[in-house]
């Protein structure tokens, strides 16, 4: 699992899904794109969309700092990048410490596949497939607006 922070919460993604983690690069904004789309960037010749997770989770945007990173993941056949506040480390969360998600405040329950406990940290396990499936619908409705 790769741990990262967004908006004060710590999340985790299956390390096998993560292609790479890179520093924040120049993004090109795409007009009339969904709200959470920060833009697109050039990843060694491939153009990938980049999503601001803070926006996606309905949080306020903060100016990026030295810790800000882009986590590159493949979801549903597309390679995308997620802007996160910072990346902590690669961790192993033992299966028996994972519990089903309780009612969480800011992040919608559907994108969370569980909550893991590591020492005294609480890690929210993110289900990127579902996150992006919803986003697909959202971007479709944006277009019609």
């Amino acid at each position: 699992m790769v741990g990262f922070h967004v908006g004060g919460e710590e999340f985790a993604l299956d390390v096998l899904r993560v292609q790479e983690i890179i520093r924040l690069q120049e993004l090109t904004r795409v007009p009339n794109s969904p709200e959470f789309m920060e833009g697109v960037m050039n990843l060694r010749g491939k153009i990938i969309p980049v999503i601001a997770l803070r926006k996606r989770f309905g949080l306020d945007l903060v100016p990026p700092d030295k810790q800000t990173r882009i986590v590159v993941v493949e979801v549903n056949g597309t390679v995308l990048g997620f802007v996160v506040d910072s990346v902590s480390e690669v961790l192993r969360i033992s299966a028996d410490t994972v519990e089903p998600p309780p009612r969480l405040g800011k992040v919608e329950r559907e994108y969370v596949s569980g909550v893991g406990k590591l020492d005294d940290r609480l890690l929210i396990l993110l289900d990127v497939d579902r996150l992006m499936a919803e986003s697909g619908e959202m971007s479709a409705t944006t277009a019609l607006a």
Partner: protein
């Protein structure tokens, strides 16, 4: 062999000639089938050919030929009836059968059939008839002897009994029955098997095209070596900076040349003659004309024109629709034609040609043409346009309404044309290929539809422009001209800006308006270009699609480039003004704008501005 008949060599000669012809036709048809696996026309033809070969060879007692053609016929029948899909396995088996049959015929010609080991081929044909199912993970692991069947059974039982869904692979690893590596391997293989069951993604390429490719790669290697040597010489101090400069210049020029050639040669390998699509039209036209009781002469030209394979696959449906339209709505019945002084027989011409970096396909008929008045009526009826706007449109522009979704002047969607493939779908299919469709029609004279496709799918010569802080790329083929304009040339008519250029009035658009986006970093408040009121002259790029022209206001013209356009991906394809993106020389992403989308968007803006009370037009 049947003794009496074997003596009648003329019978055998006839048999050989007929079968060889059938096999040759089958060869061509199978190649075409690879591009359009759904084509029932082709399938039927191949099936009938195989059936005939089976029949006549059985009559003459050529037993191996009978056995093979019989099995092949079974496979073809299964595909025809939709029981199985024409996948790589089936295709390979059929091609191998065709070759084997050819060989057998050759032997008959040379003296007689030989002994053949047909078992493996026959088995392949048998297998091809079974629907492909990827084995399960458990099966694969047992096959590889990673776990025993009994163990698998036990774990599966446990999996079924578990309240929460658990993955088999995970369970096995936890129990120490297999390693993550073994599971990974098996999963990968399972994926492979499932993928190979997918429709054939192979292509036949002329050897000569591949040779050219290899030659160019050789040149590339040589130039690379040259550069490596240059680097070494320079760092070892045996090369002066001045010399390095000139050698580097030479190398870059050479590399540019080789890369361009390589690009073209690479793309050429994917190109096949458009004949693959055109071949089914004669039959189609004959059948449809027959059903409609119309007399038609079909002329096909330019069959050897080559197109990228993907485009050949995509262009089939739109072309069929357009032809059916021509037959159904365009051409009149013989009686009506004679009455209007035309010949009884109508004609449809389908012509393909290459014009510069475009492929142009023309479909014209000498039928009744399209009446702009009827179109205008329909458009008014459906609320797609207001009477005022209608008055400003030329007949050519009115014809464009046909391309709007939901538009159809035919009251009843006939079985032929109304299959859910309207003109709007034709246009959007063309757009997917970066192509365009235009329509020209003269009432009672006929209609011509012009399809334009880029020669190469991905590479586009573009014009780079700067607007505010962003650099955008405009497809060069849509750029009519660029002009330096003065403030005085810009006027405001009914709230919309227009540009007066040499007496012509063009709608003027500023990108910031179209891209109104509160989070756009380069969004500028108000209507002034970012350079401010200091500048008295700006630059405008005149874009044109078919008859429509607009002027785009830009700050700087940055030059031309030939670049690879990449699609933006599934989450971003809802921006109509953006065709894709490209990576510029400095590694940044530049958006490639879509002139047609810009024109539509500006029209919508215009329309909104002028009549905010009226219902919104869906453009």
């Amino acid at each position: 062999m049947n003794e009496e008949l074997s003596q009648d060599s003329s019978l055998i000669q006839d048999f050989l000639v007929e079968c060889e012809e059938l096999l040759q036709g089958m060869d061509q048809d199978m190649v075409a089938l690879e591009s359009s696996p759904q084509d029932s026309e082709l399938l039927n033809r191949i099936f009938r050919a195989m059936h005939t070969i089976k029949g006549t060879s059985s009559f003459l007692g050529f037993e191996p030929v009978v056995r093979l053609s019989h099995c092949a016929e079974d496979v073809l029948n299964a595909v025809r009836r939709g029981e199985i899909q024409l996948r790589r396995r089936a295709m390979d088996a059929l091609l191998a059968s065709r070759d084997q049959l050819g060989l057998m015929l050759q032997h008959i010609r040379q003296g007689g059939l030989q002994e053949y080991k047909l078992d493996s081929l026959l088995q392949e044909l048998e297998d091809a008839q079974k629907p492909e199912v990827a084995p399960s993970l458990g099966e694969l692991l047992v096959r590889d002897q990673v776990i025993t069947p009994t163990t698998l059974k036990a774990v599966l039982a446990e999996q079924a009994a578990s309240p929460e869904p658990r993955k088999l692979g995970q369970m096995l690893v936890e129990k120490g029955l297999s390693s993550p590596l073994q599971i990974g391997d098996a999963l990968a293989r399972q994926k492979e098997i499932a993928a190979s069951a997918a429709p054939s993604a192979t292509l036949r390429v002329e050897a000569r095209k591949l040779d050219e490719l290899i030659n160019l790669i050789g040149e590339l290697v040589l130039e690379r070596n040259r550069l490596v040597q240059l680097g070494r010489d320079f760092s070892s101090g045996s090369l002066a900076a001045g010399d390095l400069n000139s050698f580097l210049g030479q190398s870059t020029a050479r590399l540019s040349f080789i890369t361009d050639e390589l690009q073209a040669a690479g793309l050429k390998t994917r190109m096949i003659p458009i004949e693959a699509v055109f071949r089914k039209f004669p039959r189609l036209v004959r059948d449809v004309a027959h059903n409609l009781l119309k007399e038609v002469e079909l002329v096909i030209r330019g069959q050897e024109t080559e197109l990228d394979k993907t485009m050949v696959e995509l262009i089939g449906d739109p072309l069929v629709h357009l032809i059916r339209n021509a037959l159904d709505h365009g051409l009149e019945t013989p009686e009506v034609r004679v009455q209007s002084g035309k010949s009884r027989q109508g004609s449809i011409v389908i012509a393909a040609s290459q014009e510069g970096d475009q492929i142009v396909i023309k479909i014209s008929d000498d039928g009744a043409g399209i009446n702009p008045e009827r179109i205008a009526e329909k458009a008014l009826e459906k609320g797609l346009v207001t009477p005022e706007r209608l008055r400003q449109l030329s007949p050519g522009e009115i014809l464009d309404f046909i391309f709007l979704p939901g538009f159809s002047t035919v009251e009843k969607a006939s079985d032929l044309s109304g299959r859910g493939v309207g003109m709007d779908v034709v246009r959007s299919n063309l757009k997917k290929m970066n192509g365009t469709v235009e329509i020209d029609s003269r009432p009672s004279q006929g209609t011509t539809i012009l399809l334009r496709l880029p020669l190469t799918l991905a590479i586009l010569p573009v014009l780079l422009v700067r607007v505010a802080d962003e650099i955008y790329a405009l497809p060069l083929r849509s750029v009519v001209e660029t002009a330096q304009i003065q403030r005085q040339n810009i006027h405001c008519i009914e709230g919309a800006e227009v540009l007066c250029l040499r007496g012509e009035t063009l709608p003027l658009i500023r990108l910031q308006q179209l891209f109104e986006d509160k989070t756009t970093r380069s969004a500028v408040a108000g209507n002034e270009p970012s350079r401010g009121a200091r500048e008295q002259s700006w630059k405008a790029v005149i874009l044109g699609i078919a008859e429509k022209r607009i002027a785009l206001l830009v700050d700087h013209l940055l030059g031309q480039e030939s670049t690879v356009v990449k699609p933006l991906g599934s989450y971003l394809h809802h921006c109509p003004s953006v065709a894709g993106a490209t990576v510029s020389g400095d590694g940044r992403v530049r958006l490639v704008l879509d002139p047609a989308g810009l024109i539509t968007a500006s029209e919508a803006l215009d329309y909104d501005r002028r009549s905010s009370a009226a219902p919104k037009v869906s453009a």
